[in-house]
């Protein structure tokens, strides 16, 4: 899971575009802080801090993809399913800022772009898809697994699509933009499948032990599977 179109370094997107998207990202993060405050009030700092530490650890866990290839989670869908879109986006934002300033991963000039793609777009898309899919598939174990799996794919692809939009506005003018778009989106569908398998298994594990901690379930238990009709 190399995060190909994510963690944009210096010089990929020009400065005016970076600044405009940084302003959008700042507004979005501001809205997240206000909404998260309303949900958690004075518990926000310790809980969001610990959740961020968890996302950090989750991103450091390497899992196998195929023989010899391993990857790591991006975490947007995981944050959305467990923490909800507002706190989730806030936590991923903090992770991105820490990575840019403390670990030199991702450019300082592109911090706004990275926050917008990986924290805001990816978490909100994931949360929207989970909410819709839980209605479609039902609130049972299978429904949750399917919903989180699909949401992870959508969130990774949406983040890479957001990058492609920024690239079309402020990147190099590429002759075969269509070919590049197909290549990037295609790669990210594959990345999303890997992300989906791990995220779905992790969220299900939490839902079985502490359903009240899974934000996407709104604090209620999973429905028990319908009892088998007994035939006399």
């Amino acid at each position: 899971m190399t995060d190909l179109a994510l963690h944009i370094p210096t010089g990929v997107i020009d400065i005016p575009t970076s600044l405009v998207f940084a302003a959008i990202a700042a507004l979005a993060v501001g809205a997240c802080v206000i909404a998260a405050r309303r949900g958690l009030d004075e518990r926000l700092v310790p809980l969001a801090g610990l959740a961020t530490a968890f996302i950090f650890a989750a991103q450091m866990l390497n899992f196998p993809v195929a023989a010899g290839v391993s990857g790591h989670l991006l975490g947007g869908a995981l944050a959305a399913a467990l923490l909800g879109p507002w706190v989730g986006a806030l936590c991923v934002t903090v992770v991105i800022v820490i990575q840019a300033l403390l670990l030199a991963d991702g450019a300082v000039t592109a911090i706004g772009l990275n926050v917008l793609n990986m924290a805001v777009v990816s978490t909100f898309v994931a949360y929207a898809v989970i909410t819709l899919a839980l209605k479609a598939f039902g609130r049972n174990r299978r429904g949750l697994i399917a919903a989180v799996f699909v949401a992870s794919i959508f969130s990774v692809v949406a983040a890479s699509a957001a990058f492609m939009v920024e690239f079309a506005i402020g990147g190099e003018s590429v002759q075969s933009f269509g070919a590049m778009l197909t290549a990037i989106l295609g790669t990210h569908v594959l990345i999303g499948i890997g992300e989906g398998v791990i995220t779905a298994a992790a969220v299900t594990a939490v839902a079985l032990a502490r359903p009240d901690l899974v934000h996407a379930l709104k604090g209620a238990r999973l429905d028990a599977p319908a009892p088998q009709q007994e035939t006399a």
């Binding site: 802080v33 903090v94 450019a107 300082v108």
Partner: protein
């Protein structure tokens, strides 16, 4: 990589002693100067690299360490290598390949700017402890709530990372050796466990804080020290030089 300590390398160089807020501003200005430079002004990128190498030497940071840490940009170098084939326009022959001239410049542009950006960020990360960096950001009027969350995250990342490592050892000790994605179930479930533990720890910490009178704001106003004019001058030397070079290329081109 240890997320909790960042990449800080203890030391006592002039760069370590600079006030953190001046270093953050210097990094931002330097990065924007690099990003704004015309891609065909190759000498300018050489000059930026020379400035950074001189500063690395001043801060006593070994070259091998920088090279290893620069690997974070590898995925994007693949994109840089693809540009000569993706971009149209006049081409140049290189053996069997037809490479776009524009594409070669685009690839070089990405490679040079990304590398310089990573190096500049490494310089800050290597010479500034996490706590000092947060204090510097507070001094630059970053939103308080984000800094508090960051401080908690950095403080407790030690624990969560240690838990993940511990569970990995436990799995290895029981001969769990997944090779394919569909075998990674135990790994994902351990992630779920770490989440529950983190969240419960967060609740306990909040209760402990509430018991000590916490109402949503940290009672202590730990104001980080202001930087003197001399510190600002020292820190802004390199970025000012870089900005001058960037302006020069913009005018000369």
């Amino acid at each position: 990589m240890n997320g909790a300590e960042g990449l800080f390398r203890p030391g006592d160089s002039p760069l370590h002693r600079l006030a953190p807020q001046t270093k953050v501003v210097a990094l931002v200005v330097f990065s924007f100067a690099v990003a704004a430079t015309d891609r065909e002004a190759v000498w300018a990128f050489g000059a930026y690299a020379a400035i950074l190498v001189a500063l690395f030497w001043l801060a006593r940071i070994p070259a091998g360490w920088i090279m290893v840490r620069s690997l974070v940009e590898t995925p994007f170098l693949l994109l840089a290598l693809a540009f000569p084939f993706l971009v149209g326009g006049a081409t140049v022959e290189a053996g069997p390949l037809d490479l776009s001239i524009d594409g070669l410049w685009a690839g070089w542009n990405l490679f040079a700017k990304a590398t310089l950006g990573v190096w500049a960020a490494l310089l800050l990360a290597a010479t500034t402890p996490v706590a000092a960096l947060l204090a510097g950001l507070a001094r630059l009027r970053c939103p308080d709530i984000l800094l508090q969350i960051t401080a908690f995250a950095v403080r407790y990342a030690h624990l969560t990372i240690a838990e993940v490592t511990q569970m990995r050892l436990a799995r290895l000790a029981r001969c769990d050796d997944p090779r394919f994605l569909w075998q990674a179930g135990a790994l994902a479930r351990s992630l779920g466990t770490v989440f529950i533990r983190s969240f419960e720890r967060g609740e306990r910490i909040w209760q402990a804080m509430a018991a000590r009178g916490y109402t949503g704001r940290l009672p202590l106003d730990v104001g980080p020290a202001a930087a003197s004019a001399r510190q600002w001058t020292a820190a802004m030397g390199a970025p000012a030089l870089a900005a001058g070079i960037a302006m020069w290329t913009a005018v000369a081109m």
